[in-house]
Symmetry: C2
Subunit: 415 residues, 2 copies
């Protein structure tokens, strides 16, 4: 089932050192959900007092664990996170809701916590019932084995068609006390073959209230996980959870309840960095990807218009195949700007590939050097920039190219 793709050529050269986040412990195990010979379940245990914030898929057909998390996150309290790969528990109706309840019961017993403090995510096949009783045999063992440093084990257990585990970390200070933000993600396409989901879980020892955490997360996600696209397909299961154990309070960090508190400046910056790093890693593991592409739009009527235009470019199959073909085809960029539906004036438009301006004032740039543009397109990382010349609205998004391998991964695996 899992596609044995070679490591993405865009993978980071190595993993960062991932020290413990005080108040969190992890373990991974094999529950036999679907895969053979690999781990497929991850349990994270968090100390009492942990707060939580989350962002979920906008799909109108969300998975059962997404429904569960949306209901439970209102309390802002968390003690454990249970994640499985191999089955998304999506489009599974009442059976799916029952499976989530059973899993919560088992995890609560294992963690010594209330069911309402259990958070969950599932990724894998859509439409197949998830046999949650399979968790029964492993949860007690995982709870006993959980360690603060098992980041990569945890990140590997939640992979589906990912070709590498995705982790990132940063430090910040609150009231002069160092705090840590570390996280993991999985995803290799908005949806991997027959699989669903982009999942990310981020942990900090900072003592921050749930409301402040939620406000910061909702804002930070706009420029990171909500600014990437592999294939424009939104999963039924996208879940991003941010847990704050508050353990740094013992070291003197002040407890902060308001997102606007100035003492959060450093934390906010570090959170942005961790989310952006993880989001970029998802694009770098995009199915069949050979090129990592930044799309920046400036001079738009508004930031919203800029983002819509940037996503129209980043989602265009014709732009993405041109990048795959190392073709500085700015006519397709013009097309994508035009189709976005936002205000654009042809005669004010300028387009760059890397630092080569290829179009200017509604015309091919007279100074445009095709050889220089071709050299840019041969790079592994390519920046496309469009200036609309209308206002101050700007946005940046990231995507990958569309290759024959994408079609093979998504079209060949059953035939």
């Amino acid at each position: 089932m899992a596609h044995d793709a070679p490591l993405s050529p865009l993978a980071p050269k190595g993993f960062p050192d991932m020290p413990a986040v005080e108040g969190v412990r992890f373990a991974a195990g094999a529950a036999g959900i679907r895969y053979k010979g690999r781990t497929d379940v991850m349990l994270a245990l968090m100390d009492k007092g942990t707060t939580v914030a989350g962002v979920f898929t906008k799909s109108k057909c969300p998975s059962a664990p997404v429904d569960w998390c949306r209901a439970k996150i209102k309390s802002g309290k968390a003690r454990a996170l249970l994640v499985n790969s191999g089955n998304a528990n999506a489009f599974t109706g009442k059976k799916g809701a029952d499976a989530v309840k059973l899993a919560a019961k088992l995890a609560a017993a294992g963690a010594g916590a209330k069911e309402s403090e259990i958070f969950m995510a599932s990724t894998g096949v859509i439409g197949e019932p998830l046999d949650a009783s399979k968790f029964d045999g492993v949860i007690a063992k995982l709870a006993a084995a959980a360690r603060p440093d098992a980041w990569l084990d945890a990140a590997r257990a939640i992979m589906t068609t990912d070709t590498f585990p995705k982790v990132a970390t940063a430090t910040a200070e609150i009231g002069g006390v160092a705090v840590r933000i570390s996280g993991m993600a999985k995803g290799a396409g908005m949806i991997a073959p027959d699989m669903a989901t982009m999942l990310s879980f981020v942990f900090t020892d900072a003592p921050i209230g749930a409301d402040a955490l939620q406000a910061m997360l909702s804002k930070s996600v706009q420029g990171s996980f909500n600014a990437i696209t592999v294939d424009s397909d939104t999963s039924t299961s996208d879940t991003l959870l941010l847990f704050a154990t508050g353990a740094a309070a013992k070291r003197g960090a002040p407890k902060i309840e308001a997102a606007g508190d100035r003492r959060l400046a450093s934390f906010r910056k570090a959170l942005d960095a961790v989310l952006l790093d993880l989001a970029h890693q998802v694009v770098r593991d995009g199915e069949g990807a050979r090129k990592f592409v930044g799309v920046e739009v400036t001079g738009a009527d508004s930031a919203k218009a800029a983002k819509r235009i940037a996503l129209a470019i980043a989602n265009s199959p014709l732009v993405k195949t041109a990048v795959a073909g190392e073709d500085a085809n700015w006519g397709r960029v013009v097309m994508a700007v035009g189709k976005a539906g936002e205000k654009a004036e042809r005669d004010k438009l300028a387009i760059w590939f890397g630092d080569v301006r290829v179009a200017h004032k509604g015309l091919r740039d007279p100074a445009y050097d095709e050889a220089a543009a071709s050299a840019v397109m041969k790079r592994q990382e390519i920046d496309i920039r469009v200036d609309l010349g209308l206002g101050a609205g700007a946005a940046k998004v990231w995507t990958c190219d569309l290759t024959k391998e994408y079609v093979a991964i998504n079209g060949d695996y059953r035939s």
Copy 2:
């Protein structure tokens, strides 16, 4: 430049007999715009009194000929149509507008008409200036050679990466008098490689006023050209023009000015049939297409919601690659329904591939036979149907599969 792709396996088995439409004559020639060894310019001459209606791209960066046609169509009067392939005259700024003016002047002289009665379309490379002086040498010859039966010559001259010329015809009656509706189209993707455009030109001898013509065309296009997608990319140049010469008035057909006139019932039906036939042919020539896919959504909140959901399915790269892989992957259909943003209740959803119901009431259909579903997916023509179980809103759209050949056509040709 032009991609020598083999004939699409989805091409119609032959061409229909295309008799003359009284009042219209065609000729095709080679102006050397870009291609060697093939025709690249088409001139249609229409009798005095011809009315015209049009529908154009929604792109915010339209081509120069689209700007021209939008301005001239207000008068509702037409005498000639000049179309070239090889250059889209898009993103060409003031030079592009000047080229259109020169072309109109040349065509007006050749047709013995006013410049304001000349309609134009261009399809090909974006961003390269169009040298309209190249029309100078050919227009007089084309005007002299124009014949009522040169349909296929005309349809071939406007092709870019199309693998076959596209024509369709139907008859209707108005006030008991037979009238004819015949047309041509080109397009093989919303945009073909480095090329722009879906173009279609339809002609009738019915005596119908421009306002009535426009109302009927705008309505008919919703279920035909606005209900197809190859790759979700909107061209800068999409143009559909409907010309009515009125020649049937000599045979006693009444002149009709109001779109609501009951005597137009037969005409309206025939117009729908011709537009749908041409639109289907564009999908059948979709770049790299191997499967012709109908997507029908019923039971939605409204017709608009149904169409948005149908297009979300038809544009999903993951649904389209699954069809290419002959995989009855209804989980991806659920995903696409969910991402459309319209109301959907998981537990009321049903999905069919052909006549095989694969999902029902938010669950895999208990009676679902995987072998039967696989047999459906092996067909060349596949119907996907989704019932939302909410209301009476329904829509149908058409698309093709997403294959490695699509990526090759759009990504390999310059590398």
